[in-house]
Point group: C2
Chain length 382, copies 2
């Protein structure tokens, strides 16, 4: 039966170009030329071409992606490496919208996605160099997460490996990134509060030095300054444990002090916002009647049912798509070039407006239902 099968029983029955060639009475090269792109523009007679196509169809030939990628030195794979699990089980925060954008754009550009699961295996914060290196399997890779293993990542980048971080990341020289424009969006929220008549606004943030948090505070302060509102240190309440330290008394004290609007940053857990809501409720107050509340981002999943917080939406899907586009361009251009980086970090002078069209994606204001004009001064106040 199987007379001249290869030396091994490796042949699963999947035909290869050599088989097609034999059937069509041509060489393997010709088959490759006909079935492959033939970008070299080599001329093939129509009759021969037909014979090859016919043979391929008959045998059910399908190219081996591994062999193809070996030969072309690219495999049409984009990596996604998350420093936490990509699909967190608690679903508190989710990369889902982001991935939707990544996936869509990747597909549009002709890439498939590889999810590197290394970080989810041994719990968080256990990214070994080996795991990160596995990433090189893909033509390029996206990185996600609040905190990154800078040392390992640096090597990758220095080797010229195309990497793009999702979220601002200036500390790593040479790493390209895309980010949401939290600065402008936060400043915008403050502006609207000021426009509504609020004269004193307080920001509640967690004690975490993630760039995303810092950007929000910067935008917050920027908004205050622009509106001519007090932006001293007391304008920001920073605490490691909002649930415990953000009490009803605290809220009352702020109000007595003239504050009528409160802003919380968004974090993985939504802790600041949650604590703010609780404290306000505990103080027997309600928004937007007695005071205004705003959230610099989106509420955690479990609070979605409640009233829509005033604040802004993070365009996660668009962010994902943008990240892919940047990555693709990094892969195309000189990976080590200095130009196509993350763009100017807009340090000292944020400029708020549409200064840098580059990797900063705008966040849309969300009117919501927790903010309005400040209440008339309570009776007991001067």
């Amino acid at each position: 039966m199987s007379s001249k099968r290869g030396p091994q029983a490796t042949r699963r029955g999947r035909p290869r170009q050599a088989d097609v060639a034999r059937a069509a009475g041509v060489s393997q090269t010709t088959v490759s030329l006909v079935l492959g792109g033939n970008k070299q523009g080599i001329v093939i007679q129509e009759a021969t071409r037909e014979r090859v196509l016919e043979a391929a169809r008959t045998l059910g030939y399908v190219p081996d992606p591994a062999a193809r990628s070996l030969a072309t030195a690219r495999n049409s794979l984009l990596g996604v490496f998350s420093f936490t699990a990509t699909f967190p089980t608690d679903a508190r925060h989710s990369y889902h919208p982001l991935l939707a954008g990544v996936e869509q754009e990747a597909a549009a550009q002709g890439y498939d996605l590889v999810l590197f699961t290394g970080s989810s295996a041994h719990g968080p914060a256990a990214t070994t160099p080996e795991q990160l290196d596995r990433v090189r399997l893909a033509d390029g890779c996206l990185f996600l997460g609040r905190h990154i293993p800078a040392r390992e990542l640096r090597r990758l980048v220095q080797d010229g490996y195309p990497a793009v971080h999702v979220g601002r990341r200036d500390e790593l020289e040479g790493l390209a990134w895309v980010g949401a424009d939290y600065v402008s969006a936060s400043a915008d929220v403050v502006r609207r509060l000021a426009d509504a008549g609020h004269r004193r606004v307080v920001l509640v943030r967690e004690d975490d030095d993630a760039p995303a948090s810092d950007d929000r505070e910067r935008g917050f302060r920027l908004g205050l300054e622009r509106a001519g509102l007090p932006a001293g240190p007391e304008a920001v309440f920073r605490t490691a444990d909002p649930a415990a330290e953000l009490t009803a008394e605290r809220v009352r004290a702020w109000r007595a002090d003239g504050a009528t609007a409160f802003v919380a940053e968004e974090t993985d857990t939504g802790g600041a916002w949650r604590a703010l809501l609780d404290a306000v409720a505990a103080a027997g107050l309600a928004a937007p009647r007695d005071l205004s509340l705003a959230l610099l981002g989106e509420p955690p999943a479990d609070l979605v049912g409640g009233p829509v917080p005033t604040g802004f939406d993070v365009p996660r899907t668009e962010l994902g798509a943008t990240a892919v586009r940047l990555l693709v361009s990094v892969m195309a251009g000189e990976p080590l070039a200095e130009e196509p980086r993350g763009g100017e970090p807009e340090r000292g002078e944020p400029g708020g407006g549409g200064r840098q069209p580059g990797p900063l994606v705008a966040c849309a204001f969300r009117a919501g239902a927790t903010a309005g004009p400040p209440p008339p001064p309570p009776p007991g106040t001067a």
Copy 2:
């Protein structure tokens, strides 16, 4: 500086075994032996081994999956192929937990994930053979989706490619699958209703022939039979448009007829359950006071805020993990063997109990708050 770089500028900086070999002063073969499995049991001196490992670490070597796959036909990648988009934004609540399970288990087994989208650039429902064939890049693949391109998938399976479908899928001979045990879970819900005293139970289902729907009805009927309750055709209300056809009158008629408990199947939209709730409310009735309601699955996302429906939870996360385990075992065993299939489809004789431990994952009963004992017969009844 870069003196003896390869003949081409192809070398992007990704080191290969030859580079490691040079650095360690050994042959490429030795590197392969040390870094690869070395299943041949060839002896390598500890010192040499160390040198190779050290060199590999220093250079940041990582095996090329394409080359490896070409040489061995495996590369530690598991595919996940969705016949819709891999990350449908709206279906997020059903896919996310599943993917979480897949990710976790894949990581535990040492596999990374490749996400393949069937619908990519060419619009939905356009799964071309080429797209499906790309899957061969991974060692094995999980398939998701209500409807599958049977013809293309069959070829893959017949070629001996390790594939596992998530969700029951008997129609494709030879295709392994894992599914939730809707039959047992549904029967269990009915049993509990019967135990609570209900003598007449009605199932509301949509007009869709998905296996998941059929299984629920089978379980429902099985539960009725076991409890000795009437299981005639009138026990099931099947309609293409529950919202329109499931009216308050209908509910009243059923009650007048002695029915005290109503069960709805879970679907993508939750249409049946929603319609049931609406009709009951429109009839001026309330559960569990006037009647009992149960949902064979989980409520749609927008109803999560309301009262918890009595019913069962689909262990999606576990389902994902189980699917991965099955896939890994399929990959390990003879892919063409007849044994490690999806297990007996438990056709004709469902057996409800713990008959087949194989690929059927149990659903946990959820007490909820919409069911209880039947009310005392209303005054106007005989």
